[in-house]
């Protein structure tokens, strides 16, 4: 239970600890999911749709677009917070956003192919305050395939809170 009728328990800067994590998530990467992702980001590279084209490019089958990592190994910040008994700022009654600030991706040389099963786990990696007073949080996500090979590791940075005077109510 993450909330009572009188008061909700919103995850905040003070309770946030490095290493807070969610349960692992396993996602099957299918041809259909790869095609849907590629269409969504409007990338028509045939190696994402056509087996022959993927093989001609040196892969064993249809390959997932590199940045599909955000779909098959998502950051899942809300699940981290919910698992600890809190609601996320976005889920709270006085909802506010924690906008994307940037990402750092470290590919591991292991392509993700149609038919692979990817398991990932996110964790709070770092929190810091800029000189202007804005607060940032970095989540680290590590993803492995069904053979236990790490396929990608990435950081997903958000603006947790703007300094006073720099945001509107929901900012």
């Amino acid at each position: 239970m993450v909330e009572t009728q009188e008061e909700e328990n919103v995850y905040n800067w003070d309770v946030m600890e490095i290493g807070h994590t969610a349960t692992p998530l396993t996602v099957e990467v299918t041809k259909e999911r790869i095609a849907n992702y590629a269409k969504s980001v409007r990338d028509d590279n045939p190696i994402f749709f056509d087996e022959a084209a993927a093989k001609a490019a040196g892969f064993d089958g249809i390959v997932a677009p590199p940045t599909m990592l955000y779909v098959y190994s998502p950051m899942r910040r809300a699940e981290i917070m919910n698992g600890l008994g809190y609601v996320s700022p976005e889920q709270s009654k006085e909802a506010r956003s924690t906008p994307f600030a940037g990402t750092e991706v470290m590919f591991q040389g292991v392509p993700v192919l149609a038919g692979d099963t990817i398991t990932s786990q996110p964790a709070v990696d770092r929190k810091w305050e800029s000189s202007s007073g804005n607060r940032f949080v970095s989540f680290r996500i590590i993803a492995t395939n069904q053979r236990g090979e790490k396929v990608v590791e990435y950081l997903y940075n958000v603006i947790w809170e703007y300094a006073q005077g720099q945001k509107s109510r929901n900012g």
Partner: protein
């Protein structure tokens, strides 16, 4: 001439070389389309967000809906794939920062340039910068990739 993935090699690439450019236009429909890829898993969190919840987004810091930052990252990767072989990119690193929101109706041109060639840990690396610029001339995203050869 811009670097092409089919012919790119560590020897052929020179500092200052440009990457092919691409243009991407976001609409509320394309933003909603991406949401459908993830909504099944995070429905509670997706309910209130800067991407599809117009009223919430209008009252927020960007005063309107914006695209997903990770989609902007995917545009940068698509640009890199035009310049470098995908197997090389699957061993690369990419560090990307969001600078300005990309809104429905925005058209962003992504360009890139080779900054440096170097050797590290027995690998040849090509460092490139990638920039996204909207129709108003504003830089909306900046990235730096290191591609091994």
């Amino acid at each position: 001439m811009a670097i092409q993935a089919a012919t790119a090699s560590y020897v052929s690439i020179q500092v200052g070389d440009e990457l092919p450019s691409i243009q991407k236009t976001e609409t509320q429909e394309t933003i909603d389309d991406y949401t459908r890829l993830i909504v099944n898993r995070e429905a509670p969190a997706i309910g209130t967000n800067l991407h599809t919840d117009q009223r919430f987004a209008d009252a927020g810091i960007f005063a309107g809906t914006v695209n997903y930052g990770v989609v902007t990252c995917s545009f940068m990767m698509e640009l890199l794939q035009k310049a470098f072989p995908t197997p090389n990119l699957l061993r690369s690193t990419l560090d990307m920062r969001a600078l300005e929101p990309i809104r429905s109706g925005d058209t962003v041109t992504f360009t890139g340039k080779v900054l440096e060639k170097r050797e590290e840990g027995g690998q040849h690396l090509v460092d490139v910068e990638v920039t996204g610029t909207n129709q108003l001339g504003q830089s909306v995203a900046a990235g730096r990739a290191s591609v091994p050869f």
